[in-house]
């Protein structure tokens, strides 16, 4: 799907995306010529249809994770199905762990609210984000920032 600016005869570019959490999706596209913007509002069925293809409107901002679709669309998956769902330590206990960003208490609590089936994947995404940005401690603000930048509103 593309939006073409009829006045400029130029394809509009993806500008921003929002997932309000009610199953809908908003995506904004802008014309690189005149700057005019349009917002595409997808209802829950349309949003789910796109999500079920394992694709991301506007392009991926994050490399596809193993079992990303399965882990995000299956409801009530088995706790402990994956070996990456351990809660992060607040204080690194080993030298190797010290190289990983730590999590403050509020961020850890928020992470614990993520369903266990998908928690390990979410943990890894935030950890990688913090490491790539030189962030030593993951806070709720860092999580919000990562969600915005990486388009993780659905996670």
């Amino acid at each position: 799907m593309k939006f073409l600016c009829v006045e400029c005869d130029r394809p509009m570019g993806f500008a921003e995306r929002a997932l309000p959490g009610d199953g809908t999706l908003t995506a904004v596209f802008s014309c690189p010529g005149c700057g005019r913007s349009v917002a595409m509002l997808a209802n829950p069925m349309e949003t789910q249809l796109v999500a079920s293809l394992g694709v991301s409107i506007g392009g991926r901002t994050l490399a596809e994770q193993p079992f990303e679709l399965t882990r995000t669309v299956v409801s009530g998956g088995r706790e402990g199905a994956f070996a990456d769902g351990e809660a992060p330590a607040a204080v690194p206990e080993t030298e190797a762990a010290a190289l990983r960003p730590s999590w403050d208490e509020a961020a850890r609590e928020r992470l614990q609210r993520v369903p266990a089936f998908v928690r390990g994947m979410v943990l890894r995404i935030y950890t990688d984000y913090a490491r790539e940005h030189g962030i030593a401690t993951i806070t709720e603000e860092v999580m919000d920032q990562a969600r915005r930048e990486l388009g993780l509103e659905g996670m």
């Binding site: 799907m1 009829v6 193993p66 669309v73 299956v74 009530g76 088995r78 994956f82 070996a83 890894r124």
Partner: protein, 310 residues
Amino acid sequence: MSCLPCNRRVCDERGAAPAAGFRVTRVRGYHELPAEEGGTLPAQIAGQRARVQARLAFVGSVVAVMSGKGGVGKSLVAAGLAAALARAGRRVGVLDADLHAPTAARMLGAPRVALAVGPAGVAAAKAPCGVRVMSSDLLLPDEAPLRWREPEQAGFVWRGALETGMLREFLSDVEWGALDELLVDLPPGTERLSALAELVPGLAGAVVVTIPSEASYRAVRRAIEAAQGAGVRLLGIVENMAQARCPGCGAASAGFAGDAGEHLQRESGAPLLARIPFDPRLQAIDQGSTEAVAGALAPAAQALVARLER
């Protein structure tokens, strides 16, 4: 803006005035956009397919185990063939594509451990007989059905796409390693076979499972026609519950009436790989013991390998 009849950005030849209330325009179609200005979704889908191909580059043959009818012992045949192949020294994996009624992992005795996740993918479970397994059973709580996250409305719109997406991830995101054969245990019917054939263009073929009855013959015949219509090679037929066998003395007696296996063999030209008796000893597979079933299917496994290598 351009003139529709003249296909020019500014019509200076006809000077045609548009009808009242209409603007004269010709908007470019999707395929008229330069590739770099096209949407990102086709490229993302192509990337998914490429990951499947890359993973399966280390798999000798992908074989579907299917039937047009439920309850004929398709999963038993898939697990038994896999165990027999492993016993013969082959490197084998089983992908349980029956997402809503998964049984392959338990039949093969695969432990319900936490699956390791690394950058390269999710580790397959390893059954005691050496077969690698991936199944939705490993991902769900005991006896829990497969359910999807919201929204629940109009699920028919997207449910098929989700199931195909899971199948794709089971193919591309599992660290299968190097395998000689990857058996895909399909649910009854033909829809999942079509999805598999699209995801795996190099699909080696299908083994079809039936029981002797006339009803099974009719349902499986339809499935064979659908498979052939999708360009899937028929590797062979397995007739399950072909006879009843006394658990005490081992004597065989007539089982279901009918000759579906031979009938399908004559019509399709594919070999009848095995006729498995209804033998209570084979039920040990329900507890994850594959010995008896692997023994019953050993000749079929050997014949299958010969067909694959032909």
